[in-house]
Chain length 400, copies 2
Amino acid sequence: MVETLKRAPAYKPFQAPERKLFGPGPSPVDSRVLQAMTTPVLGHLDPLFLACMDDIKDLLRYTFETDNRMTLPISGTGSAGMESCVVNLVEPGDEAIICINGFFGERLHEMTERSGAKPIPVRSEWGSPIDKNRVEDALKSHNAKVLAVVQAETSTGVLQDLTGLGEMAHRYGALLILDAVTALGTHPVSVDANQIDACYSCSQKGIGAPPGLAPVTFSERAVDHIRRRRTRVQSWYLDVTTIEKYWGSDRAYHHTAPISMNYALREGLRLLAEEGLEPRWARHELNHKAFVAGAEAMGLRMAVAPGSRLWSLNAVSVPEGVDDARVRAGLLEDSNIEIGSGLGPFKGRVWRIGLMGFGSTRENVLLILEALRSAMEAEGKVCPSGIEAAERVYATAPNH
Amino acid sequence: MVETLKRAPAYKPFQAPERKLFGPGPSPVDSRVLQAMTTPVLGHLDPLFLACMDDIKDLLRYTFETDNRMTLPISGTGSAGMESCVVNLVEPGDEAIICINGFFGERLHEMTERSGAKPIPVRSEWGSPIDKNRVEDALKSHNAKVLAVVQAETSTGVLQDLTGLGEMAHRYGALLILDAVTALGTHPVSVDANQIDACYSCSQKGIGAPPGLAPVTFSERAVDHIRRRRTRVQSWYLDVTTIEKYWGSDRAYHHTAPISMNYALREGLRLLAEEGLEPRWARHELNHKAFVAGAEAMGLRMAVAPGSRLWSLNAVSVPEGVDDARVRAGLLEDSNIEIGSGLGPFKGRVWRIGLMGFGSTRENVLLILEALRSAMEAEGKVCPSGIEAAERVYATAPNH
């Protein structure tokens, strides 16, 4: 029929070992979430699937702590969520203040540029939070339509304090975009209380589902702003006004939703709600503190100052004389443990150790501490165990 | 902690019945493909996942019938694949000939407009293919950079003959974009033989995986064209040059790939290769012919003329006096059978009955024919059974 038809490649079914996912994400996925993906596939307009979508919106509103009507998962990964917030809120020529203290602030900057808007960067060093006074200076001296901030900078492990940023943006006539990719489900994001206008996250970190969806939420203020746009949103796929016609009461076909991924997201969110946000945050905080106590007892240094550390992602400085890549490869090959490397200026200098979602447990803290000690020993750096110091943190925890 | 914290919603795990998916997609998913998604999640830079990506690229090249280096799944649904082809190949101000004979041609037109390019529509009626002479006239009278064609118009069930279109586009200095969303894995697409420069599809039709990924392939001519762009691709998420840095040998982090969806895609493609493209096309053709014979024996009319019918998706005219929506709802509720409604001018006038991927079987043809007969009877339209006519087609098939 077609002369170029090639011989069909013959493959076996793919198999993978159970990795312990202590990198910057994906985080470990509970078997209930994996199993949810084997639920029979429904059509994207099946009334039963439409009910599943309603559950997801309800669960996302709880997780984002918002009443926003326009709350739904974008059918792509976290970066698609980022791009959806940028391209819906900015128009060509608009000024946008972009806070940059790591890799993902840079990405926001690039997306803003590609959208034809004019990004105004407010920079801080990698590993440090953004200075709010400098943000206010930038808002004062520009006519920005948008202020974009990363709450949890996945590249550095830095937590950004959000207090007052929403109110500040609004005072200067700007909307606040928040990157909560590594924050949602691990730290309070509090979309309504923090007056956030557009917030995006991902399925594979604090929520504990596989990667593939990007929960977003838009305030009424943001929705009004979108309605008054002078130009169409440049991306058809990421235009939230038309996506909302499918996720809202119109049920108008937009694109075929990733059915099985939505099953997984629903189950991850369901288990999150079952635990409750406050106990979940407390769990992440406790395991983070135990990890830090253990790591410091081993003589390791955290790359971020105490007040700005994420509970979900621990940035640990690679000790002098230790081969970053060899340690990571050894952990993966010998112990099925994944930890993350540094990015950009942190490349080779920092390990990113994620304890998030289902991965944030006492058992995992003790496991990774012992694995690190052993890896250091293999590098000729004999150091004390961190287990006791970590256990002391657990012993003093209220619900221990 | 946060005063607005709401009570957590309590949900049960989601359950769904086994629907028989005879709509325009998603098509039925084999249990081996569903099970593949329960494979332990790997990190997106895990060497074992990188190997899985290489398998997928190899299997996609087989399925697209191409040697194109740049062949990979976009991390979104088919429409994200469409947008990636448009925004990578066109630049603001460029002219682009867009063939429109249905809903998805219109979508291509809209995406082209949103990209800042100038779409030149070449229209044909819904239900008819595009006249190639009119395409050539449009190429002659414009300076188009791109010609975009839908091979399988999912909204109407029309197959577009591709012969000569690639050569014609190139003669006038244009690149050929092909929509193979409902064609890939069911009809020959033959990317190299047809000189297609950019082709996109989806995971949930001919491949038989759940929705969520959009396989794309770009010819070297297209890649050269992208390299010589005057402007950056407007979408960061869909910029194939940077996505290819992750999927190619650089392995540079771009975004976190949807790991579990890629497992499903690999398994769907693996089973496709196991069957082989030619037997798969023959299977779709045979079941389509049996369905048509049965439907016509029942007195139903196909909405598309014989030479232009898709093997994957059958457009059947809703008989006079029959309530389209009531029939579809009845099939779903009483028999767990999903069929598709018409879109646009076909709304209420056409049923779209998909027999694709794992769904294209003799058993399913007989099942849907009998279900249609019974549904018609419930509407007061007693008609003969189509089973015998369908069986006659099977009886004369070479491998029966």
